[in-house]
Symmetry: C2
Subunit: 196 residues, 2 copies
């Protein structure tokens, strides 16, 4: 009843299709087809499409959190350099997916938070966990004197996360990482600075 190769295959295919097309536009049959699993198995592992969607979110969040920790809590690297690497990784991914996919959590947040409170809560939690990772890194930067303490790390983390998500969205419609570059440039030039 727990973990299983078939279940994993379903979640993997689902994450891929949902990333590309969105939740509503991705039919269960399409997921089944891409991984060659019959419908009976799907409803053996998941009670509904919503249940499946939540599992996709959960798994993506868990996997993404690992890379987030590796990037933002690497104490061998100066805090602002960690942030730079995070942005660079995001830009690379955006380029790799031909500017079509973006951020799964951001996509679903936009599509589903007005549609289902269950999804909204789940996505909100993911965002909040991400913000905490940023807070941790920003606190390091403040105590080490790299940035001023005129703003709380929490507010700064919110600023960075929302700005970055917005830049990703804009990059999708523009089919260019230019908005992401602009965001990063101005952020490091005027916000993440030491002097008051």
């Amino acid at each position: 009843m727990k973990n299983n190769a078939t279940r994993d295959k379903l979640i993997d295919s689902g994450a891929q299709l949902i990333s590309q097309q969105g939740y509503n536009a991705t039919g269960i049959n399409a997921v089944l087809k891409t991984c060659g699993v019959p419908k009976g198995s799907f409803y053996h592992y998941f009670s509904s499409k919503e249940d499946f969607g939540l599992a996709v979110i959960e798994r993506f969040a868990a996997s993404y959190d690992e890379t987030l920790v590796a990037l933002l809590e690497d104490n061998d690297t100066p805090p602002l350099e960690r942030l730079r690497r995070y942005f660079a990784a995001g830009r690379e991914y955006m380029h790799a997916c031909d500017h079509a996919t973006g951020c799964l959590i951001g996509n679903l947040g936009q599509e589903l938070s007005g549609q289902s409170d269950t999804f909204r809560d789940a996505l909100n939690l993911v965002f909040q966990r991400w913000e905490q990772r940023f807070v941790h890194c920003l606190k390091d930067a403040q105590t080490q004197g790299y940035i001023a303490i005129r703003t709380t790390p929490e507010a700064l983390a919110s600023f960075i996360l929302t700005g970055w998500e917005g830049a990703i969205l804009r990059a999708k419609t523009l089919k260019s990482v230019e908005p992401m570059v602009h965001f990063e440039t101005i952020l490091f030039q005027q916000v993440l600075v030491p002097s008051a």
Copy 2:
């Protein structure tokens, strides 16, 4: 064949439903039901759902551009105050819609730009027109000495628009305008400042 009350009713209802539920989740029948128009009329005015969606975008953009001009090109008001008013209006709207709707263009950009190039192009154009309105206002601010000229107005406009869109997205999943407040606060405190 041109403008008509029925056509307008369809677009109005469509804009409302699509704002709330998204494009894919909004069926044509639902639109027809909310404004009491039969299907025959719909396909008399629009050749397809995509055609309809584009008309909804076009009309929203035209109407929104008016308020944008009124806010950002009001020469009787200092440039930064114009921006403040723009953000205040956005916050008020977000509150009025119970944090559920957000920005129609942003929503559709997220949902459709990976799905249809036609939509992506249309939405991209709208964003670019908006950016130009910001550029105009920021140039005023620079020439009047309110903000430094270390960054091009174009890059700044991109930064503001993407940051704001991201804040709206985050406000939807959080059901609070807090991210929008954080964005505005830090923007005026550290980015839109005169000194180098």
